[in-house]
């Protein structure tokens, strides 16, 4: 049964209200690879220039340094025009050239080439024919290719993030590009919205709505704008987590007892209880291989992180230091778990190495919350409190690079990083 909530109509009305996020790098450590990204021929005649977006994507990671290209004339756009000796003299290790050419049908062709300056060899060459409105997305795809060629890891510049913005008494669930651009409200309400979670294919977001004056779990289809209430039982319904195959959700319900974890079909249906304890069990998160559920429980007297088989069964405690370790999220490779740790009254994002039990604290805020991994595992996006307001921040999973996502409007909170695009 699909139910169109009134909130959905509000969402349509809210599409115009955008709050752009801009990302600042606050700290970067280690060696940065110098990369020269030249202006693409013909891009200035288009509604969106490509090369600045590519450069900003790469620079934001903290792994690259953009080499100054001012004064290069003529700007090479073909391999034969590249003077590698000159770029070696500018201490650039990689070079990107490209051009944007209008097609007869109104679309544009974007070509780019990536070179290894020292070896004077081409590392990548791609061409895309797209509508002019797709130029920004194309720039992100180009940045993904460059990032992967130079680091060996998948780029995440074409992914999306979701988060909740609170302005006064109004809450919006927004979806934006990973660089904060193109923010759109997909849901608006005068009641809180928390715990958004992307389906593994990125087509749906599960979240907790308070529209019925109590927490219920709703799944919203982003393309269709339809919503489906999947858990609205007696008491609380919260903390949705998708199984990796997208068929089930783990949720926290209080229908039988104190907060306990249940599995429920993603389309709604009968919940099956996975934990049976007299303590709080909540904040489930599936391991990427689908075998485990990590969760928070205070069965041992203080809230700690445990894991159990995804079908329920004996749980194993994973955190032992301190009296408050909550909100686990598996890294995409399943080897680590990001979580919230309280230490001396301050709440920070930490990472646990599952096999060794080693814990590394990554942030230094006072009320950090809601860590979420980028799908390549390299960055962790989270919520920080800055000047009494919720703001998003990100830290690299090795702790060396830090970013702040600056928003002009309201409290920004509860982020979730979407999956890699499927194509």
């Amino acid at each position: 049964m699909i139910r169109q909530l009134a909130a959905c109509l509000l969402a349509l009305a809210a599409l115009g209200a955008r709050a752009q996020l801009t990302i600042d790098i606050t700290t970067s450590g280690g060696r940065q690879v110098p990369v020269a990204i030249l202006p693409f021929a013909g891009e200035s005649a288009q509604p969106q220039a490509v090369s600045p977006v590519v450069g900003a994507d790469l620079a934001r990671t903290g792994l690259f340094r953009l080499v100054n290209t001012v004064g290069v004339s003529p700007v090479p756009t073909e391999p034969s025009e590249v003077n590698f000796v000159d770029w070696q003299a500018r201490a650039s290790e990689a070079l990107v050239i490209g051009k944007v050419e209008p097609q007869a049908d109104g679309r544009v062709e974007v070509r780019f080439r990536l070179f290894d300056v020292q070896k004077q060899s081409q590392l990548a060459s791609f061409s895309y024919v797209v509508a002019p409105a797709q130029l920004r997305a194309t720039a992100h795809r180009i940045a993904d290719v460059i990032y992967e060629k130079l680091t060996g890891e998948k780029g995440v510049f074409s992914t999306k993030i979701t988060y909740v913005v609170k302005r006064g008494t109004r809450y919006e669930l927004q979806v934006a590009d990973a660089d904060g651009a193109n923010a759109q409200a997909v849901l608006a309400s005068n009641e809180p919205i928390i715990s958004p979670a992307w389906s593994p294919d990125g087509s749906r977001i599960a979240y907790v709505s308070f529209d019925q004056k109590k927490p219920i779990v709703v799944v919203q289809n982003l393309a269709q704008g339809t919503t489906r209430v999947v858990a609205s039982f007696w008491g609380n319904n919260s903390a949705p987590a998708w199984s990796p195959d997208g068929t089930r959700l783990a949720v926290t319900l209080t229908k039988d007892d104190i907060a306990q974890i249940y599995a429920i079909p993603a389309a709604g249906g009968e919940p099956r209880r996975l934990t049976v304890t007299p303590a709080i069990d909540t904040e489930a998160n599936f391991s990427p291989d689908g075998k485990w559920i990590a969760f928070t429980s205070d069965r041992g007297g203080s809230p700690q992180i445990y894991r159990m088989p995804a079908e329920g069964g004996p749980a194993q405690r994973l955190t032992f230091e301190g009296t408050y370790n909550v909100r686990p999220r598996f890294s995409p490779d399943g080897k680590s778990i990001a979580f919230v740790q309280r230490e001396s009254g301050k709440f920070r994002i930490a990472v646990l190495e599952v096999d060794t039990g080693q814990v590394t604290v990554l942030t230094d805020g006072t009320l950090d919350d809601s860590p979420t991994y980028a799908p390549n595992g390299k960055m962790i996006l989270y919520e920080a409190q800055v000047g009494g307001r919720g703001q998003l921040a990100a830290v690299s999973s090795d702790g060396r690079v830090r970013q702040r996502l600056v928003s002009s409007a309201g409290d920004v909170r509860d982020p979730a990083w979407g999956p890699l695009p499927t194509n």
Partner: protein, 177 residues
């Protein structure tokens, strides 16, 4: 006598919750204080003589009636219903015993510190604590739904202990309100 028995029941329920910090908040068996609290409905001693309404005031909203008080405040990391708030909870329990068709929802709340979902569960525990005081006094479980707003509906917007103390609370809401 009823008072003492209740304290023991609540203390053992709290112990059963297994939370580490609650021990320091286990209510001291103070047998005098609660009996001094006014618990008679509709005959408040703190009247301010104003115009009397022509129709009988709704006891649930009449500011002179204890039933108009709806909030129970909690200590940090605690879900113990403190003695000073027992008269309010007991008055609502008696009202529910009398009014067989009345149903309530107890909404638990937390301060902003810690993760949102764990706070949601903690708020639930606070709501349950209020409910248990009522069920011990004879209100059927099925008439009290406990829900939690976690840290999402702070009564005070600040980021200090004064605000947090306002936000660690349970609210009693009647069906239809």
């Amino acid at each position: 006598m009823k008072k003492i028995a209740l304290s023991i029941v609540v203390a053992s329920l709290v112990a059963a919750c297994g939370s580490q910090e609650v021990k320091k908040d286990v209510p001291v068996a103070d047998r005098t204080t609660p009996t001094t609290q006014p618990s008679r409905p509709a005959t408040s001693t703190t009247t301010s003589p104003t115009t009397q309404p022509a129709i009988a005031a709704n006891p649930l909203t009449d500011p002179k009636n204890i039933l108009s008080k709806r909030s129970v405040y909690f200590d940090f990391d605690s879900n113990v219903v403190k003695d000073e708030f027992r008269p309010v909870v007991q008055a609502h329990a008696r009202y529910l015993v009398d009014k067989k068709d009345a149903r309530i929802r107890v909404e638990g709340n937390c301060d902003e510190r810690g993760s949102r979902e764990y706070n949601l569960a903690l708020g639930q525990r606070r709501a349950e604590a209020v409910k248990r005081v009522m069920t011990v006094l004879g209100v059927q479980e099925g008439r009290i739904e406990t829900v939690s707003f976690g840290e999402e509906k702070p009564a005070a917007a600040g980021h200090d202990e004064a605000a947090w103390a306002q936000n660690r609370r349970g609210d009693i809401k009647y069906a239809g309100e």
